[in-house]
Symmetry: C2
Subunit: 278 residues, 2 copies
């Protein structure tokens, strides 16, 4: 079992130094809970609700900039794996990215491929599949927020052997019926169970320019059951629980069934697929 902490923070828009301090404090708390893997929200470096690309650019940093550098130092100091979202400049491009860092340094950078709503006016879309990083806690993959709404995308690291998906998210608030888990959480549960792959989604809080958030940080096991979080909230929190990445090595789900081997990829089209109506 691996102790995993998701730091549901409320970053301040554009306050890069303040957000680094906020992250450092939360990672310290997570480590105090025994965390071996710590997950941060999407755009934890910068906040989210940019007016336009120019404003986001001003909060952008290269991978070798101060924020990811500070995260590397935290990972090294505490001996943990850290996955967090940051506003990434790369040449003339601007990405909504996630870094995977550990005591060895920056292990991977993933660039959000499915851009939500106005993000397409601000960021460039990533074109690379989610990475899989061999870490001290197993093979960790990452993707960001809206990416999780595309089960095809979650399949990619799952089929390639990822043992845990650590997803920085900023889920905009939307109503759920009384007593129901947020829809985003339901979809995390489904993604986990159809792949037998534990998933951590680290959400944010703190209304930003009128945008409120679900605050639904969730840790789901390979059966899709919520082991921590998974309800809407408005408070910062370090949500901590154990998950077992080894669960992902066994795709059997009873009897002769195997949720990956039983796929029929020869029958699946990749592109929009139209057939005549009966």
């Amino acid at each position: 079992m691996t102790v995993i902490a998701a730091c549901q923070l409320g970053p301040t828009l554009g306050d890069l130094a303040g957000n680094r301090e906020r992250v450092a404090a939360a990672v310290g708390e997570a480590v105090g809970h025994g965390a071996q893997l710590v997950v941060l929200p999407e755009l934890a470096s910068s906040g989210y609700a940019f007016e336009d690309r120019a404003e986001a650019w001003a909060s952008g940093e290269e991978v070798d900039g101060s924020t990811v550098g500070a995260w590397q130092q935290l990972a090294a100091d505490h001996g943990v794996v850290l996955v967090g979202g940051f506003c990434e400049r790369a040449g003339e491009s601007l990405f909504n990215s996630a870094a995977v860092v550990d005591p060895d340094g920056v292990r991977a950078v993933y660039r959000k491929a499915h851009l939500w709503d106005r993000e397409r006016l601000i960021f460039d879309a990533g074109n690379d599949a989610p990475p899989i990083v061999e870490t001290s806690v197993g093979r960790v993959s990452t993707m960001i927020c809206y990416d999780l709404e595309f089960p095809e995308w979650v399949r990619i690291p799952a089929l390639a052997g990822a043992q845990l998906l650590a997803a920085p998210v900023n889920w905009p608030a939307s109503p759920a019926p009384e007593g129901e888990r947020p829809g985003e959480v339901v979809r995390v549960q489904a993604n986990a169970s159809v792949n037998r792959m534990p998933i951590v989604a680290c959400d944010r809080v703190a209304v930003e320019r009128g945008v409120a958030w679900v605050g639904g940080t969730v840790l789901a096991d390979a059966d899709g059951w919520v082991v921590a979080g998974g309800w809407a909230s408005e408070d910062e929190a370090v949500v901590t629980a154990e998950l077992d990445p080894d669960q992902a090595d066994d795709k059997k789900i009873g009897g002769l069934s195997d949720i990956h081997a039983d796929r029929r990829p020869e029958l699946y089209p990749t592109t929009g697929w139209v057939h005549p109506l009966t």
Copy 2:
């Protein structure tokens, strides 16, 4: 809005005539509730827990056999669309199939493509995509039970314009944590919401040769919210509610986002996909 009824029945293994009577009574009750579309469980004609192919063969019927014929008569008499599972003989083949019938007759037969557990020892697998049938209640598609665990499969009719997915299922019972919806229901909710396509899954009850069932019949709207059913039960029931197939015509989910148009099919592999570890 369309009134939809899912008849959560407990068929008797091998009692084809008795099961036809059971269905006729349930469809009558559904029509009494105003149902325009009636969904039956998987293998509603025959029951499920066959020892082997020979036993299942003995309960198999051609599409023009007594069971589907009786369903056509029910559809014609009541002016409804009916989707139900039956044990289908076709030449030397034996399929776990679903028929879509309406007052015009048999509109489509779908053969389960993803065979659960020991079904692969009993049935032949279907190789055709889920059909889409233009009916009086909209464009209806169907698939069967374990098919729903493969989000790639649900995408096919959704992308092709289906407005409602009517899925006969036989969900084997398995434990869920206290207060949580059955995992199969969670996955129906996710499938509905990532496609903005209402889904009806009609489950069964009545322990058969030691196999118990979830009894989790559920109607989910295009946002993935449960509008009826969705909790484990042991009782026969005609679960009825309104769903709006027109919801499926609009894939927009806020701002500039469109859950289908925002897919990036050029990045999705069809087959098992492996990349080197980072």
